[in-house]
């Protein structure tokens, strides 16, 4: 006897919700596990001291600085380029061959795995351009990696601004650039900000690409050409080499807290954006 559709639905829905619960459970489990093991070792000292004996003791201060430098610089480079590209694609040109080519380039770029970016950064920035394993090489490599994301989110944010606003701006005597900066960008800014914040999060998490370009020196970087170890890479080395589990957990905790914070920021920005453009 075939089960009735209503029964089938009940079974399927229960199965689906189970899947959903399992997925959310995994996320919660990961976060709690890391924080539970790491928070006890997370102290102010840990955040401000330098590592000793290869990370067995001491803190992660140089890694925090290194991460901020590499990720921060990457976003600082990629954001203006990405937003400018998005502005060009939406406001300064019509859909056609050129825009299709630019979009194709950006789409392809977004699919390339991080290890390939690492290879490229190593060969191009570190060796050919002579920057060596450094904050700068790492930042430039990461900038290329996050560029497509910034372009895409900026484009969406700009397109969400109602067309009528543009006509109103022209109607009271603005140039195109004035309209773009004072009306469109003003409304699109939270949406663009979300993309930038998410890219920052991605840069902070990234390991494979920085491993090959920013190096793994333990010392505090003083200039852009110094090599530096990021938090994510430090965590990888600590856990894989078995150097210090407590420190590994603590490092991971810093990472997770930073990512959580950034995601919250992105979420809050997104909500402001939706409210503004309504």
């Amino acid at each position: 006897m075939r089960p009735s559709p209503a029964v089938v639905q009940r079974v399927v829905v229960a199965a689906l919700w189970t899947l959903a619960a399992m997925t959310i459970g995994v996320l919660v489990f990961i976060i709690i596990y890391i924080l539970a093991h790491g928070l006890p070792y997370l102290s102010w000292g840990f955040l401000t001291e330098s590592p000793e004996s290869m990370g067995r003791k001491g803190g992660v201060f140089p890694m925090i600085v290194g991460t901020l430098m590499v990720a921060g610089l990457a976003v600082l480079i990629a954001a203006p380029i990405g937003v400018a590209t998005a502005i060009y694609l939406t406001e300064y040109t019509r859909e056609g061959k050129l825009t299709a080519v630019i979009r194709f380039g950006a789409d392809c770029l977004s699919g390339i795995p991080s290890i390939i970016f690492g290879l490229f950064g190593f060969v191009f920035f570190a060796i050919t351009l002579g920057m060596g394993l450094s904050v700068l090489s790492g930042a430039l490599t990461l900038a290329l990696m996050v560029l497509p994301t910034i372009i895409r989110t900026s484009e969406e944010a700009i397109r969400a601004v109602p067309y009528a606003y543009r006509e109103v701006s022209y109607g009271v005597g603005s140039t195109r650039w004035q309209m773009v900066t004072q009306v469109v960008l003003r409304s699109a800014l939270p949406g663009i900000g979300t993309g930038v914040v998410l890219s920052l999060g991605r840069s902070i998490s990234e390991t494979a690409a920085v491993m090959l370009t920013a190096g793994s020196g333990l010392q505090l970087p003083h200039s852009l050409l110094d090599s530096s170890r990021t938090l994510a890479l430090h965590f990888y080395i600590l856990s894989r080499e078995g150097i210090s589990m407590p420190n590994a957990y603590a490092t991971a905790s810093v990472l997770i807290i930073a990512i959580l914070g950034l995601n919250l920021l992105a979420y809050w920005l997104m909500r402001r954006f939706v409210a503004k453009v309504r």
Partner: protein, 286 residues
């Protein structure tokens, strides 16, 4: 107006940076990697599973198999959970709950790959070793970890595809007396098919490209895997593990591995883009 033209030109130059970046990457990777492939010969490079840099043997076949096997496993998990989640979110979830689930998925996507790998090593690998046998560092472990990592991608693109289905289709089906589930699999999924396929293909690209997590849980053995409990090495792991100390031919061979990876992913991404572009033209349920 003059000023407008100047600004337009400046923006165009900046916009072309996206293309030039891609072009640069393609050029350099191929420049470094192609010579080795040509010198050793395609058959030897791609079909031999003997990878012994010290004696000059560079065959990546076992790594190609490794990448493929791990990816297939990851997709099984990724599709079941990712698509399932997308269906729950769009078809069966009250809006309040959806607003909670969505950020959770985005959060999942934000966790660093090294943390995923680490969690795999600390919880999953021992579990496999004790209950299923083998070293624990295995195809299975890598598939599970990767599956979890790619499911946010599959979920978010599938959600977009499902939400793009005209509400009329849904209402029409319900009006004919179908249950929500019947509507989902008979109408909604079919209508969103090309978007979902694109989601899966993009997820595949992500899985193949993942490096750090795989290194930590897959075992990195150079032997061809015979069961899912065997350790395995992927193309990405190969590059990451040996790049640090490779030189000369060895380094070129790693670039050649990169070339292989690059081509595979470009092909996958092009298919995904082509499939997802079909969506607006088609329009029909079929």
């Amino acid at each position: 107006m003059k000023q407008d033209k100047v600004i337009s030109a400046i923006l165009l130059i900046v916009a072309l940076s996206a293309i030039s970046g891609l072009a640069l990457i393609t050029v350099f990777i191929f420049k470094e990697g192609l010579p080795v492939i040509l010198r050793i010969g395609g058959q030897q490079f791609f079909l031999s599973s003997k990878w012994e840099p010290s004696t000059g043997h560079f065959g990546i076949f076992s790594m190609i198999v490794g990448s493929m096997v791990v990816t297939v496993g990851a997709m099984v998990i990724g599709i079941i959970f990712g698509l399932g989640l997308a269906i729950v979110l769009t078809q069966f979830s009250p809006p309040g709950l959806a607003a909670v689930i969505k950020p959770t998925i985005e959060l999942l996507a934000g966790i660093p790959s090294v943390v995923y790998g680490f969690m795999g090593v600390v919880t999953l690998v021992p579990l496999i070793r004790e209950h299923l046998g083998g070293p624990g560092l295995s195809v299975l472990a890598a598939s599970v970890v990767l599956g979890i990592m790619v499911l946010p991608t599959i979920t978010s693109i599938s959600v977009d595809a499902l939400q793009a289905v005209p509400r009329l289709y849904f209402e029409g089906s319900i009006a004919l007396g179908a249950t929500r589930w019947q509507t989902t699999y008979m109408v909604m999924l079919k209508a969103a098919k090309s978007g979902i396929v694109a989601a899966v293909i993009l997820g595949m690209g992500r899985a193949i490209g993942e490096t750090m997590a795989v290194i930590m849980v897959a075992g990195n053995s150079l032997k061809l895997p015979h069961s899912i409990l065997d350790p395995v090495r992927t193309l990405t792991s190969n590059i990451a593990l040996e790049m640090g100390y490779a030189s000369g031919d060895h380094r070129q061979a790693l670039f050649a591995t990169g070339v292989t990876l690059f081509v595979i992913i470009m092909v996958l991404n092009s298919i995904a883009l082509a499939v997802s572009r079909f969506r607006p033209q088609r329009g029909g349920v079929r």
